[in-house]
Symmetry: C2
Subunit: 384 residues, 2 copies
């Protein structure tokens, strides 16, 4: 397998983009990425999106985006793994370049969620429709069950959940692409409207329109055409778990995250102690706590304390979600996993401005679908 | 890139499967394929499906199928390219095995279309929603436009369209997995209810529930574990075109099919004259005529005559759709491209019974999405 680098990125502002449809949103990001990479063509493209059929009555968006991007007749395909669609698309693009099938591959993700459709019902199609959604289990409810159990088993405090949100908003306030560029307080989280006990509105990632795209190429080619440090994908792991939460042995860990991480660490030849920063899937505050434990950054049950001690802030032991996370920067489902890899790439390039993690050399991006039925982990390294 | 073989196939009966939901349908095919290959594990899986969100309110079926197949925690992802989803999934599985990332990969496709939802509206999400579907252009209408133009430019006769359907039903009558295992007559086609002039009901592929799955492995491994002749994927091509028919320069050829074929032939080192049989995407009778021209089997404009002369029958110059095609065996969208590759594989194994093409050594499978905005072409060869 060939070594693969990220050579260009495109990430326009996220938010409620009422004046743009799914194709405009995607194409803007893709053009930015192509321009940023400075390439004169692409060989193949992947479009990650969870549910354009339900939100926009539009399937077949792989071909559609290649068309509107002016890239016909290149191969283009949509990839879907619910909220892990973006991470899975990065993985498939990585495999295609590594295989030698293509040299320059665009991996983009997009979701147009503000269309007037019922997004709670649409998001619930990522859960088990017959055994969960039909009976009224929404995603906030699924993660609330995990939160309650984590609090019960490990004494994780309600305030510690809130601190995840406060930290991520502090980071997002410095990210010009974020949906919510403002700081919040613990009190604001605790006093925001309840959604599914113990989770309040400000424990939940928002509903967002947005896209992100990146360009992959062999490291050998990247060295010839790139003027920035080379950022290589040194590890890619993906794993699945039961789609229904009730089929798991535990609610306080996410086996797919652990397995995906194990594979990525093995391929990369590094361990959690070597990671300088990480983007993780904080769809709800409890998710960040559980995931940082399952990635091996903290002992099981200690994720809440780690946040309280400031270990996951910029400047802390291992900065988590310097982008603002899903909570503050927004969560346009299909785009999320792609944007995570962009945040890590930019940090390793050293171009993250006020959010820069000094001396960052190895970063990790963890993306997750459903209540953890899918997870991907990518490890990136600046090779000097 | 490593050489890749098909080592097992699973294809249960297709039809209106009212007593089965999408997960039952998929798992049955996948278990058959695993059993047929005789493998004790799989490393990764792809699930092709166009629109489980709209038909069954269920996205995230990559992880769900891995779960119900008892295969967690292996990576699993859904692939969507409208009606070319199956062909694209075969391609991605091929790339993954070729890359060295995985050894044994399951590629399955599934569609559960009989759920009570409006399938004409759902299928129209494979067209351009804003510029085609919204204005009332259904798929029969799009292909009817192509048919009228082909008749106008080349003198293709209405009866020749009907002959495609008659031939495919004759083949499907011998395929125990086909939805409609019965022969029909030209008169029956001509007198069936009009759908979109000149296409009648019996020019259109039906609405079908079904799944198909196959197992890919490196040729080197296949030689060790397989008791059948080795069938290798020697060429894989994919291409895209404008999603809206009105954006094309021509209605009488499908540029994405030509491009995908060109790439597949080049990779395989063979030409149309070397192909012993082909499965092509006859979603409508006119599609088979245009596609057999674009694959290089017949001169442009001569596809209708070729059918009339019996060149595409079993025993003819190049048998087309020995399986019965989409027309007779059914078209469960996501499964179609996978089943095409299964039909070719079985023919090359020499196990197709009454449908067997004697001495078949090289076969081709062509899958298509929308009105030709996506196409894949795979070329398979029995290597003795």
């Amino acid at each position: 397998m060939r070594d693969v680098a990220v050579i260009g990125v495109g990430w326009p502002k996220w938010g409620e983009l009422w004046k743009k449809d799914i194709r405009n949103i995607f194409v803007e990001a893709a053009l930015m990425a192509i321009d940023d990479a400075g390439v004169d063509h692409i060989d193949s493209m992947y479009v990650a999106s969870m549910s354009p059929g339900l939100w926009s009555k539009q399937e077949h968006i792989g071909a559609m985006m290649a068309d509107y991007l002016g890239q016909n007749p290149i191969p283009a395909v949509r990839v879907e793994s619910a909220c892990a669609s973006g991470g899975m698309a990065v993985r498939l693009g990585f495999i295609e370049v590594a295989s030698g099938m293509s040299d320059i591959v665009l991996v983009g993700g997009v979701e147009k969620m503000w269309t007037g459709e019922d997004f709670t019902a649409i998001l619930a199609t990522a859960a088990d429709q017959e055994y969960e959604a039909f009976h009224g289990l929404t995603f906030p409810a699924l993660y609330a069950l995990m939160a309650r159990r984590h609090m019960h088993e490990f004494g994780t405090k309600r305030e510690q959940l809130a601190m995840v949100s406060v930290k991520n908003h502090a980071n997002g306030a410095k990210n010009p692409r974020a949906q919510y560029q403002r700081e919040i307080t613990i009190d604001a989280v605790l006093n925001s409207p309840p959604v599914a006990d113990p989770l309040n509105l400000l424990d939940c990632s928002p509903v967002t329109d947005g896209a992100a795209a990146l360009i992959l190429a062999p490291v050998e080619l990247a060295k010839k055409i790139s003027k920035r440090p080379i950022v290589q994908i040194i590890g890619s792991g993906a794993a699945t778990d039961s789609i229904a939460l009730s089929d798991r042995d535990t609610y306080v860990e996410l086996p797919a995250v652990k397995k995906a991480a194990e594979k990525a660490y093995k391929m990369a030849g590094v361990g959690p102690e070597d990671i300088d920063l990480a983007e993780v899937h904080d769809c709800f505050t409890i998710a960040e706590i559980i995931v940082t434990e399952d990635l091996g950054f903290f002992e099981k049950g200690k994720g809440g304390e780690a946040v309280e001690q400031g270990l996951t802030k910029i400047g802390g032991k291992i900065p988590i979600n310097t982008s603002g996370g899903l909570k503050s920067k927004g969560h346009p489902v299909g785009a999320t996993g792609v944007a995570q890899v962009i945040e890590i790439t930019e940090q390793l390039w050293g171009v993250s401005g006020e959010r820069q993690v000094e001396g960052a050399k190895i970063g990790l991006a963890q993306n997750m679908g459903g209540s953890g039925a899918s997870s991907t982990v990518h490890i990136l390294k600046r090779i000097d």
